[in-house]
């Protein structure tokens, strides 16, 4: 599948198709990547898809814990929608939803977070501040995954897709951090270069 735009998308898939289409057109290259691609791009994007799924899982758990005030909750819900779109766009780029993936468990999510230096426990979300701190760390993890992917992807069109998503993660980081720190720009936009957390 190229450009990931074809008749037959469900309503849920349309935003992802639009993302893939727009970015493919902007980059002048297909955004879909064949399994077993010699470049390894398929494998790289499969890795970022795993991270994005963990991100979605954590957002869902944070919302379910109910420690967020109305304003923060609205922002977190909006971002969760974005993260779900990232997952859907990646699935399209990789050739469709991967139904064979094992479901994410608490233990698996915590292992993944620790692997990327996110120390907060999903079981210790007593306050809004704890919850937002975890989500900021999770966004750093996603930024790092995308940054590492861009440095390895061979197809320019895929790098453009990755950069647009990575920039979205950076915006999430800023929006979440701003809630905790009263919009202080020195804290919510601290550095001139965004590379995310290490571990990739």
């Amino acid at each position: 599948m190229t450009r990931a735009v074809a008749a037959g998308f469900t309503r849920r898939e349309l935003p992802a198709a639009a993302i893939a289409s727009a970015l493919g057109a902007a980059a002048g290259a297909p955004v879909a990547v064949a399994a077993g691609s010699a470049s390894g791009d398929h494998q790289i994007l499969a890795g970022t898809l795993r991270v994005e799924r963990v991100v979605v899982w954590v957002y869902e758990r944070v919302l379910a814990r109910g420690r967020l005030g109305p304003g923060a909750r609205a922002t977190v819900r909006l971002i969760l929608g974005h993260e779900r779109e990232h997952v859907a766009a990646l699935e399209l780029a990789l050739g469709g939803a991967r139904t064979g993936e094992a479901p994410i468990t608490l233990g698996a999510a915590e292992r993944e977070l620790r692997r990327h230096h996110v120390g907060a426990s999903l079981l210790e979300l007593g306050t809004q501040r704890d919850s937002l701190r975890l989500l900021v760390d999770v966004e750093s993890m996603a930024e790092g995954a995308w940054f590492a992917a861009i440095a390895r992807l061979r197809a320019p069109g895929l790098a453009a897709l990755a950069a647009a998503i990575m920039a979205s993660e950076a915006q999430h980081w800023t929006a979440l951090s701003a809630i905790s720190h009263h919009g202080d720009p020195k804290i919510s936009v601290p550095y001139p270069f965004v590379r995310g957390s290490g571990g990739y």
Partner: protein
């Protein structure tokens, strides 16, 4: 409330700040880029274009900051420091690729913003132009690690855009992927 338009003097001051900010000594980046790297000549053109946009943004922030209210000015000062760092990084990459950064123009046309909202609009427009340029660049630069270096700056510009959109009363997170339309 800003009652004066951006004068030629103010705009020139911005340009001077851009020049001064970009004259700092740059350190070699960790991007493996030399004059012999495949695609270096084409990449130089792209990097020079990015530098133009950074310098325009530096001029815009420099001219706007004295006329912004305190909360907006605080963010703008922070973002100006970022833009200066980006310009320095780009100058270093251009030098690594065997090029010489173009001389900045003596004057930037920043329009005639008359109040704080229009000043923020000017900054927002400068950031959007950068988003467009970096999104295009990431899809065209040759070495993957150079694309990653551009993406690291793009993500920071996207953060600026989020804050500026908030200041303008717009949705700070308009879509799931960053685009030049933000």
């Amino acid at each position: 409330m800003v009652s004066r338009v951006l004068s030629r003097r103010g705009a020139i001051a911005g340009a001077a700040a851009a020049l001064a900010g970009c004259s700092t000594k740059y350190r070699p980046s960790n991007v493996p880029l030399t004059p012999h790297t495949p695609g270096a000549a084409a990449d130089l053109v792209i990097l020079d274009r990015l530098l133009f946009h950074e310098r325009y943004a530096i001029a815009a922030y420099s001219a706007a900051i004295p006329r912004l209210s305190r909360p907006a000015a605080r963010a703008a000062v922070q973002f100006l420091a970022h833009e200066l760092a980006h310009a320095s990084e780009l100058e270093g990459l251009i030098a690594q690729a065997g090029g010489k950064p173009a001389r900045p123009p003596a004057f930037y046309d920043l329009g005639r913003p008359e109040d704080e909202r229009q000043l923020l609009g000017l900054l927002h427009a400068a950031e959007r132009a950068q988003l467009r340029a970096y999104l295009d660049a990431v899809g065209r630069l040759t070495p993957a690690r150079l694309r990653a270096a551009a993406a690291a700056i793009l993500a920071n510009e996207a953060q600026h855009t989020t804050v500026l959109r908030g200041e303008l009363g717009l949705e700070p997170l308009p879509s799931a992927v960053v685009s030049a339309g933000e």
